[in-house]
Subunit: 267 residues, 2 copies
């Protein structure tokens, strides 16, 4: 089977590669085209209207590659643009929020879930809505952590400054009594070791990248869209701006193999 239709994955920048990593492990025969909007990253501090406009542009660019499904590997975009994207495109659109919320509800024993993310994700209340839609009794404590992405992009994955910032952000959630914490930003799995160290063992971490990959698999199965290929699928990475120090950080931390980065001009 030559030239299979790819899964299109997009993110505001490089963080969504954590989702690609999970997809590569779970669906090794699928070809993936990834588009990171490094020319306009980060989306976290931006308004919903601006994020929606950018998301439509990126999704259109991936549809030009004949994508059979769109994966929104970004919590900020998932939190404000998923209904819009689902309406505009005929292929399945999978975000990270529903999958993360479902996994959190499976993990919690005291029905008290913490959520951390960018300012835009937390302000949207998308995780609260998704959690309460399934379990109306769940308690949710959420917190925006705007410094975590810059710290990760600086490569400070194992560093006392990062630990201090994590403590400061998470202490109020621990004091609230959460027993489960959703890492509501696709960058955050790169800090899961540091976060687990600060939290201690009693708190279950819910990784939105892992759970998103599970949801993609289920969606492809439901729509009979799984690749019939027996060889390993390809991974193509395109960015809207060439310069990004964090690409090296992510490539090393995730041990992802991809060749030449394609530079895609924005419309």
């Amino acid at each position: 089977m030559s030239n299979p239709r790819p899964i299109g994955v997009f993110d505001s920048g490089i963080g969504g590669l954590t989702v690609v990593k999970a997809l590569r492990e779970r669906l090794p025969n699928e070809t993936i085209v990834y588009l990171g909007d490094t020319a306009r990253v980060p989306y976290g501090p931006k308004s919903p209207e601006t994020v929606q406009r950018y998301a439509l542009e990126l999704a259109h660019m991936l549809m030009q590659k004949n994508s059979k499904a769109l994966v929104v590997a970004c919590n900020t975009v998932s939190s404000v643009a998923l209904p819009l994207l689902t309406r505009k495109f005929s292929v399945p659109v999978i975000g990270v929020i529903q999958a993360g919320a479902r996994a959190a509800l499976q993990a919690t024993r005291n029905q008290h879930v913490g959520v951390i993310g960018t300012r835009a994700t937390i302000r949207s209340g998308a995780y609260e809505k998704a959690l309460r839609a399934t379990d109306n009794n769940v308690r949710v404590s959420s917190r925006a952590c705007p410094l975590l992405v810059p710290l990760i992009e600086e490569g400070l994955l194992d560093d006392d400054v990062t630990d201090r910032v994590i403590v400061r952000y998470l202490e109020p959630l621990l004091a609230d009594g959460i027993d489960t914490l959703v890492l509501g930003c696709t960058h955050y799995p790169l800090l899961s070791v540091a976060i687990a160290r600060v939290l201690g063992r009693e708190i279950t971490l819910v990784d939105s990248a892992e759970n998103c990959a599970t949801a993609v698999q289920e969606t492809l199965d439901r729509h009979s869209l799984r690749s019939p290929a027996i060889e390993r699928g390809e991974l193509h990475v395109a960015l809207t701006d060439a310069a990004d120090n964090f690409l090296n950080v992510a490539r090393d931390a995730l041990q992802l193999n991809f060749g030449e980065i394609e530079l895609r001009a924005l419309p």
Copy 2:
């Protein structure tokens, strides 16, 4: 004199308001229109080509307001786009690099100057070039400090986490033997108290905002463009994206008065 031609000031975001603050103090009768590209901030990690394209778009938008001079209140843009902007527009274009370099050379006694800024500013070598163009014997130690802008935008202006990050960035420059430090990013004056505390008294801080305001005054005088108004000039602030927590941080820290924020769509 009604409807005087304004000075157009632009930045990748909100940081350039430190330049506006300095301009308001030095040139109180001038009307200023400020445009911050909060929809695409930060420019620091982006490539020179992308920053140049964005800078032209912002400058065009300010020229539509009949600006008599353009002030590039952003070190990243000044470092990669000033020749281009000077070529494209007939009004004087004033950046922050030349003024900062000149002030640093006046301040240093041991001819060893430190420069801190974003990744793009430091990578461009623009300060080194400007310093060496005047004094070929000056030594320059420079360092990119990508975490300072996020820390400032979080409002952590007086905080032990910020102090630790500053120490980590500046210790190598101190060990090199600098006696003068250029704050090569318009955000950084908001950290000048913290930086001075870490550096001690022997190091002179060169504030690019202050020196840019001096350069604007000189340029307006040279071109006979000073406002004849006797009343205080107006300040109009426009942003390309509405949501920015940092606007409140800057407004408080700088004690700047401006009315309604105008939202300007990008072309």
